[in-house]
């Protein structure tokens, strides 16, 4: 799973979000390191919907603008869970090696 996909799923794990909300949440989660452009976001959303990881939730009109909300599906939740466990395992392994290299900073 690529990082933008992981971040989008993570953003939706906090509740349903509209497109701009996802962009803002991804920027917040990544501490402004990742700024999704709308074209990239919607290509990712197209793929995630086709894979059954994300679904359309509801529509709202705010100041004359359409806001379409998306939510994580059960399958999406599972995929995020698996990816989080994988990243945790890798992070733990990397941390263990770094502690061996630099025992005084452990």
């Amino acid at each position: 799973m690529r990082e933008p996909t992981f971040l989008i799923l993570t953003a939706l794990a906090g509740g349903s979000r509209h497109g701009y909300g996802i962009i803002q949440d991804v920027a917040a989660i990544s501490e402004a390191r990742v700024h999704l452009l709308p074209g990239t976001l919607y290509t990712a959303l197209d793929r995630l919907v086709a894979q059954g990881l994300v679904a359309h939730d509801r529509d709202e009109q705010v100041e004359g603008r359409l806001r379409r909300y998306y939510r994580l599906t059960h399958q999406g939740l599972q995929a995020l869970d698996v990816e989080t466990a994988r990243l945790r395992q890798l992070t733990n392994a990397a941390e263990a090696r770094l502690r061996t290299l630099r025992p005084h900073t452990a």
Binding site: G19, P38, G39, Y42, V54, A55, H56, R68
Partner: protein, 365 residues
């Protein structure tokens, strides 16, 4: 998507034309809203980064099948080969702007200029820039072109057999020709030496070598063939004159290539979106497209390295035209059968889908 007075929104809508119509119908306003919310206040134009992002993802969206990672590779293969064939076609059309081949008088004068003391004894003057067995290509030749003889469709050249009085040695003629070509403004390429083709029987001299000189002046290319022992074997010295690639060929090829590539991408995208499952002919269209790619790419993959090696082996004042690099028309049967498969696939793609609903987008999720 109705236009509004907001210039930024209108510009975003224009950029969204990169996306397929169905996608724009379902997602256009939502996307414009997100783009406007993301824009800094007071901005009236999309940023270059946004523009590239929308172009890139719009073209991806035109392929449909959002979960597929291979569809982009197939689209690239299709667009590139369509672009190459279109470039070959438009460059052939641009080749028609070349001047006719030199006539007998011009050829005689050129021979006298380059090889003083020599005279053109015989002359073969084709009437077309490209010939099939030295004759202009005619409709009745199409079956021969398709069934194995396509490689005989080549650039035509006026070939003059020349003789000197008294006959000179190869080295003397070579030195004379090189000196005269340079004096008369030709760009002379290094001599190309090949094993003597007249070396037979007990009179064989293993050291004998035929020599070719290539030169170019303006829009005329010249090949001078000097046999190893013209005075012994009576093998003729020949001068071949052909037209250089006209200036219009490069821009025409580039333009044709771009148009063909874009058309290939769009048509592939249309068929790909159209035949997303549960389309009744999805499998058949996939098979036909695979066969098309195989039949269109294999001649190019076979011919291009061989022609590249040929160009490296001997100087080329005039490069072989683009279609020969694509294995055409030598393997034109492959192209024609591939085109037939492509048309069948497109016809099948027009069959109605099994589901009456719209094509896949996130809006339907």
């Amino acid at each position: 998507m109705p236009p509004t007075g907001d210039p930024l929104a209108n510009r975003y809508r224009r950029l969204l034309l990169c996306y397929p119509r169905e996608w724009r119908r379902l997602r256009g306003e939502e996307m414009v809203a997100v783009l406007l919310e993301s824009a800094t206040p007071g901005r009236t134009r999309p940023t270059p980064r946004e523009t590239v992002d929308l172009l890139r993802h719009g073209l991806r969206s035109r392929l449909g099948r959002p979960a597929s990672y291979t569809v982009v590779a197939w689209a690239v293969l299709t667009a590139v080969i369509c672009g190459l064939f279109s470039a070959a076609l438009t460059s052939w059309v641009a080749w028609q702007t070349a001047r006719p081949l030199p006539d007998r008088a011009e050829t005689t004068a050129l021979v006298a200029e380059v090889l003083p003391g020599y005279a053109a004894k015989e002359m073969d003057s084709p009437t077309a820039l490209f010939t099939f067995y030295s004759q202009p290509l005619r409709l009745e030749n199409l079956d021969s072109v398709l069934l194995g003889d396509g490689g005989e469709y080549q650039q035509g050249a006026v070939v003059a057999v020349v003789t000197g009085v008294p006959p000179a040695s190869q080295q003397e003629t070579l030195a004379l020709a090189q000196r005269r070509l340079r004096e008369t403004g030709w760009r002379v390429y290094p001599p190309h030496v090949v094993p003597g083709t007249t070396c037979t029987g007990i009179s064989c001299d293993p050291a004998a070598r035929d020599t070719m000189i290539f030169a170019r002046r303006g829009d005329t290319g010249l090949d001078l063939s000097l046999p190893a022992r013209p005075s012994v074997d009576s093998t003729p010295v020949t001068v071949a004159l052909r037209r250089a690639t006209p200036p219009a060929v490069l821009p025409a090829g580039v333009l044709g290539g771009l148009i063909g590539a874009v058309a290939g991408w769009l048509v592939f995208g249309w068929a790909s979106r159209r035949t997303e499952r549960p389309h009744r002919a999805a499998d058949a269209v996939t098979v036909l497209h695979t066969i098309t790619m195989l039949l269109w790419w294999s001649p190019a993959v076979l011919a291009a390295p061989q022609l590249l090696q040929h160009h490296r082996d001997e100087p080329h004042p005039v490069w072989h035209p683009l279609w020969e690099w694509l294995g055409q028309p030598a393997l034109s049967l492959f192209f024609v059968v591939g085109a037939g498969c492509a048309l069948c696939g497109l016809a099948l793609a027009t069959l109605p889908r099994r589901d009456p609903g719209p094509l896949t987008t996130t809006a339907t999720g």
